[in-house]
């Protein structure tokens, strides 16, 4: 009774008001902390993205020089009517060098000529070879062709290396800087899109190194992982959740699946090395084996996510289906699974994203090898994007710094495409209640 009296009196009302004020203040503080946390997280994300894009964007362009080439059969060392193999074996780099020397006719002497030729990339002859192989009749004619320059020139032109030969770190001497300046003034030295980077495999020479081999390797690995882990994971989850009796055995299995999800990925790599390579004798460095290892790693994630989303399907739907006389399998395929699918897809894509970004277990099965060729199937030796990033980050040449960031950009794009696909799939399967 006394309390009731107090509540109506003025001081008590003040207490209520002040407590109310404190409650609102606490709420505002909490909201502010939440917003601050989001702002910090976004800030770090922006910092990461900006630094990667700032460093990596320049790898998608390449400094090239346009030269007038005379397809001289004498320099090439092949006759115009020769067969393909002979044509392919011609000295095309020599042809490119000759084109550069003819642009600077007053350069003489072996040493000077070699320094001039060093401006060109070692792969400068490749474009010429392609031209001759596609049309042998160009031999004898004169064409204007774009050539990639060496990585030192590329780095200097992009501003990563000092242009003044006297400054420490400069890779070009005064004479080379002079020729470069003359080419620039002549308007034949520009940055063009680096097709080589997005179409070829790895190389020791930074101007020739490409990311495509790793992209294809990642694609095959993730494809193998998806094809194995999705059906296996969903089937396991459906059996455990809908069919299996609840007893000590299923409890044991459940505990072990949860434990597997927490096993460090490199352990799966060692397991893959011991089982897939040593026992089954599968080829080293193959995306197939990489996919198998990543499947082992991804399965627990998918099973756990799938079980959670199966559990989230309301029991009333199961009762309705069974009450209609559907079998358990019909209940699952007609009602439960379609309702759980969006959640299962989300879990799967999380697992796939982790598999795509995983490098440690793949190191164990040899996917860290230096592989130049773009793999043509899941059994060919290959590397994957994160391992490529790791390899390039380890290289000493300045030109690989931008390649590393560029490979990360490609990896992020790969992830973005996968997530987009997942969102679209989820939208398609999502049902309104």
């Amino acid at each position: 009774m006394t309390e009731m009296v107090e509540q109506t009196s003025a001081p008590a009302a003040d207490a209520v008001t002040s407590r109310l004020k404190r409650r609102y203040a606490a709420e505002r503080r909490f909201q502010f902390m939440g917003m601050a946390a989001i702002a910090v997280a976004l800030g770090f994300l922006a910092l990461l993205l900006v630094s990667i894009f700032a460093k990596g964007a320049s790898a998608f362009v390449q400094t090239q020089v346009q030269l007038e080439v005379t397809f001289d059969a004498g320099i090439l060392g092949v006759a115009p009517g020769a067969d393909r193999d002979t044509l392919a074996s011609g000295d095309y780099l020599g042809l490119a060098k000759a084109a550069l020397w003819s642009r600077f006719p007053d350069v003489s002497g072996r040493a000077e000529k070699r320094q001039l030729a060093a401006l060109l990339s070692p792969s400068a002859g490749d474009a010429l070879r392609d031209m001759v192989l596609s049309d042998p009749n160009v031999i004898g004619s004169t064409r204007k062709v774009w050539f990639p320059v060496s990585d030192s020139v590329d780095m200097t032109n992009k501003g990563y290396l000092p242009r003044d030969p006297a400054v420490e770190g400069a890779r070009l001497n005064a004479a080379q800087m002079g020729w470069l300046q003359s080419l620039e003034d002549g308007g034949v030295l520009t940055k063009r899109f680096n097709w080589q980077f997005v179409t070829t495999g790895d190389s020791r020479d930074p101007t020739q190194a490409g990311v495509w081999g790793a992209v294809v390797g990642s694609f095959y690995s993730v494809l193998v992982t998806l094809l194995l882990s999705f059906p296996l994971g969903v089937a396991t989850a459906v059996y455990l959740e809908e069919f299996a009796p609840k007893n000590r055995w299923t409890d044991l299995i459940e505990v072990n699946i949860n434990n597997l999800a927490a096993v460090p990925s490199i352990v799966f790599g060692l397991l893959g090395l011991a089982v897939f390579l040593a026992v089954f004798g599968l080829p080293r460095s193959a995306p197939m084996v990489g996919g198998l290892v990543l499947t082992l790693m991804t399965l627990p994630t998918i099973i756990i996510a799938a079980r959670a989303s199966l559990k989230a399907v309301p029991p009333s739907i199961r009762e309705a289906a069974l009450g209609m006389g559907s079998s358990k399998l019909q209940m699952v395929t007609d009602h439960v699974l379609p309702l759980a699918l969006p959640g299962i897809l989300t879990g799967t894509i999380l697992g796939m994203a982790r598999a795509l970004g995983e490098s440690a277990p793949l190191l164990m099965i040899g996917m860290v090898a230096f592989i130049v060729d773009v793999p043509s199937g899941p059994m060919d030796p290959a590397t994957v994007l994160p391992v490529q990033v790791y390899l390039w980050a380890d290289s000493s040449e300045r030109a690989f710094v931008e390649k590393t960031s560029a490979a990360i950009i490609v990896l992020l794009l790969f992830l973005a495409v996968m997530n987009l696909a997942a969102i679209l799939l989820r939208k398609k399967f999502e049902r309104r209640w």
């Binding site: 309301p314 009333s316 739907i317 309705a320 209609m324 006389g325 309702l339 049902r431 309104r432």
Partner: protein
């Protein structure tokens, strides 16, 4: 399955006088049915006959076993791992818990409508067509269309939904959803329809419609309804069974139960002294 003969010894419950002499005359007949949930004895020695083309209401306070009994009839208790059913339950003389009985076929013969409307998150048409489809009851699309239309008509829903059969069943109002569930249940032409508090989630107007529907359905189906509302039991049922603490206390014609209950517990419950 202790007793299978037609002439059984009088069981110990007070409801014995209300069981039929020949249980084959009953649509659904229970003799000495016991249900255990683990250690808990949820349903004790129930003898009950449910007559064809009548509405039988099961009433009683919460936890008295009426829903448990209902779910024995279409073996929905099988879904609960710890549930164990003992005794004899027959549908048209066939033992429901016989090994030879296929539970899928049984549930096609004994339909069920649940407490909360639970239409599938599919179109109205697909909701009703689901049963006929899985049981292969329609030879072609025209036949299926007809089954769907007749079922919706019988459930009194056709006029409201005939222009939007391809819209989601979950988009209907609560009462419409429940009638959709009834349409879905009758689409497979069951013999018995079990209703587990079908109106508890509905407003009074929707309830009135469903009750009206139950009365109409009695012509073609045998209905067992669990309800918490004694007024509802009085309105829709011909026979009423009163459960208390897992035991069947009294069963009889609805009018007799509500006007002249034999057992003091029944009287206490219907007059609102407990429950």
């Amino acid at each position: 399955m202790a007793q299978t003969s037609a002439a059984v010894a009088a069981p110990a419950t007070s409801a014995s006088q209300n069981t039929l002499a020949d249980r084959r005359l009953a649509k659904v007949s229970a003799r000495d049915v016991n249900v255990y949930y683990g250690e808990k004895h949820a349903l004790k020695h129930v003898d009950l006959d449910i007559r064809a083309n009548e509405v039988t209401a099961l009433i009683g306070p919460s936890g008295c076993g009426k829903s448990t009994f209902l779910r024995c009839i279409n073996r929905m208790n099988d879904l609960i791992d710890i549930a164990r059913v003992a005794g004899s339950l027959t549908l048209d003389g066939d033992d429901i818990y016989d090994r030879k009985i296929d539970v899928v076929q049984l549930r096609a013969r004994v339909g069920m409508v649940f407490q909360k409307p639970n239409p599938f998150p599919k179109s109205i048409y697909d909701n009703v067509a689901y049963g006929p489809r899985i049981h292969g009851m329609a030879k072609d699309q025209t036949e299926l269309d007809e089954i769907v239309m007749t079922s919706l008509e019988k459930a009194g829903l056709l006029a409201e939904v005939k222009d939007r059969l391809d819209e989601a069943g979950t988009g209907l109002s609560g009462g419409q959803q429940q009638r959709l569930c009834i349409a879905r249940a009758i689409a497979v032409s069951p013999e018995v329809i079990l209703m587990d508090e079908p109106c508890s989630a509905l407003d009074p107007i929707a309830t009135a419609k469903v009750e009206e529907l139950i009365d109409e359905l009695r012509e073609n189906f045998t209905i067992v309804i669990v309800t918490h509302s004694m007024q509802q039991a009085a309105r829709v049922s011909q026979r009423t069974a009163f459960f208390h603490l897992g035991e069947l206390v009294e069963v009889g014609d609805t009018e007799q139960i509500f006007t002249n209950p034999q057992h003091p517990l029944t009287q206490g419950y219907i007059t609102g002294r407990f429950g």
